[in-house]
Amino acid sequence: MPPILAGDEQWRRLDPRMLLVHPIQEAVRFLPALLVVFFSGRNSDRSGWWDWAILGMIVAFGMSRWFTTRYRIWGGQIELRRGLLNRRLLTTPADRVRTVDVTAPVWHRLLGLAKVEIGTAGGGVLAERIVLDALAAPVAARLRGELLHRVASHPERDVELGSVGGPVSESWTESVGESTPEQLLVQLDPSWVRYAPLTTSGLVSAAAIWGFGAQYLNEFGDLQDRVEGAVDRVAALGLGVAVVVGLLAALALVSLLAVSGYLLSYWGFRLTRHSGGTLHTRRGLLTTRATSLEEKRIRGVEIGQPLGLRLAAAGRLSAVTTGLGVEGSQKGSAWLTPPAPADVVNRTAMAVVYDPDAVSGPLVAHGPAARRRRYTRALLPTAVLCAATVWLSRVVDLPPVLVIVGCVPVLLAPFLAADRYAALGHTLTARHLVVQAGSLSRRRDLLARDGVIGVTIRESFFQRRAGVVTLTATTAAGRQRYAVIDLPVERGNAVATVVLGDIVGQFADSPGWADPSADRASR
């Protein structure tokens, strides 16, 4: 088979099977509006033709996407042209491709299609990704293989310390889709689903369903009555029982949502390393998603340990990579493990960054000023809240429950502060800047030192009085900034100097500064 990337001058349309998918997707998107139209139509004497006309418009609109989108892969460029009124042309050189996502939502899977999303370098997170929606699944897989392999076989000038890509053995004309030798790093163990209720994902989806459902509950008054009936029956048993039953029901619902969410997104999760120097993840129950990350572009990892997972000795891992943000829709692409046992997370982090000290080594604490600031920052607002509720209860008639609710935070604040200080730390290894912070959402960030492209040393008024600074390492990958908070001033400067070498060292006051990594200055 000729490689797709060789391509030709011809502009091509996407897979014609999308003519079926687009109208369905549009219909789903306009579902609330459609329902309103149909139900209101039943009660009026309007002709049924209207309903069909609107449906037809939606179908035509969906199909028009296929007719107005063309792509071509030619001369080392990937070009995408789309839009009817608002036309746009997206272009990217194939050797700037950094990440390739292949996603197959349910409809796509039924028809054997897959969506290809291409992330490029240089544009940062703001750049629009090229999305080919959709190609035949085998074509998509081959295109992904070729794109990443082409990148791997054209090593760039800036050879980095963090690069772990092995030598490239095949030429890029070979098919590399599924046949490349691969090393399995992580495979989902179904028992890990026990961690799902410990994350906040269940709460988030419950809130989303609540918000969405509340609108429909209003329209279906019958159901609402029934729910209210149930609530009344429980309430008749007494307030205490009602609260307990309510909490248990909510807990069960949230856990159920979290578990199903976990299964939907992580089912069959696999992380593999391919010889071309790429990491591949594959996951999903209904919507499958395959992501390829070029290892040369990985600038580190984030080990997430939110409180719930931490108590269960679990965590999750995501990659810090250029061409891919860690927020919003791109967040999922960077995951290297699902919520999983801590040793799996650490082992995987090790496999990706090869730096044991960075993954689990001890950290340098930030000192008494940082500890004091954790306490003031936790105690001050909660104390104000408590005082305000107490004062309010004197002035107006406030139920005593509210006063208790208002004052519980101030009692918890010392524990939060202590835990936040216990988490706070940083260290420098030979290749990484390691930053750890947070209590409820604790994170240990490992950022490759050569991925740091600038430093910011910031001091607020109160920080200046306490003699501490926040050192932010800026990078083109992941969150774009990784902050080390409340470092003693001179330690902050020292860390900056070690990370950026003479770039910072030349501004040092002490003339005796010896640059330990003088080779960086020449880069």
């Binding site: 040393i457 800026t474 900056a496």
Partner: protein, 173 residues
């Protein structure tokens, strides 16, 4: 957790300030901007006075006095304080800026990572022949800004940085 001190490997470092002050006219720019902000707040106050015709006048007086004092201190203090803080320096390998007043910030970026260099002039800055230079890197969080440069100094700086950025190959990530 290791306590900071002799166990940590690197000696403490003190950074000196960047060498160059911004143009002295920048004080006038900040002063004018401060006055404009104060006038806007005053406008809001007048609007409130006119709309609230029948209410008591005491809250108006209290708010006006408080904002008046705060804004006066701001207009007088902020430009001088800012002028003392704002500094910049460009070496053959790096750009170094210091900005802020209440909160202060030092930014250092290797010249080799510079991606774009912008020169902007707001209406007040144009009046005073001043300009702002903004340097971006491949990180969305990594830009450096020098406010209140003399227009000619700024133009020369932009030229110098642009040449340096163009000399660098690769995508600077």
């Amino acid at each position: 957790m290791i306590e900071p001190g002799p166990t940590t490997d690197t000696p403490p470092v003190r950074l000196r300030e960047p060498t160059n002050l911004v143009c002295p006219r920048a004080r006038w720019m900040w002063l004018l901007e401060g006055i404009i902000q104060a006038l806007l707040l005053g406008g809001v106050q007048v609007g409130w006075w006119l709309l609230d015709r029948h209410g008591p006048r005491d809250p108006h007086v209290v708010v006006a006095v408080v904002t008046g004092i705060v804004m006066l201190a701001y207009i007088v203090g902020m430009p001088l304080w800012r002028f003392r803080v704002h500094r910049w320096e460009v070496t053959p390998t790096a750009v170094y800026t210091q900005t802020g007043w209440v909160s202060q910030e030092r930014r250092i970026a290797p010249l080799s990572r510079v991606q774009t260099v912008d020169l902007t002039r707001g209406p007040v800055a144009q009046l005073l022949r001043l300009a702002t230079v903004r340097v971006t890197t491949a990180s969305a969080a990594g830009h450096l800004v020098v406010h209140g440069l003399d227009r000619d100094v700024a133009t020369a700086l932009v030229e110098r940085l642009t040449v340096a950025a163009a000399a660098e190959r690769g995508d600077a990530t």
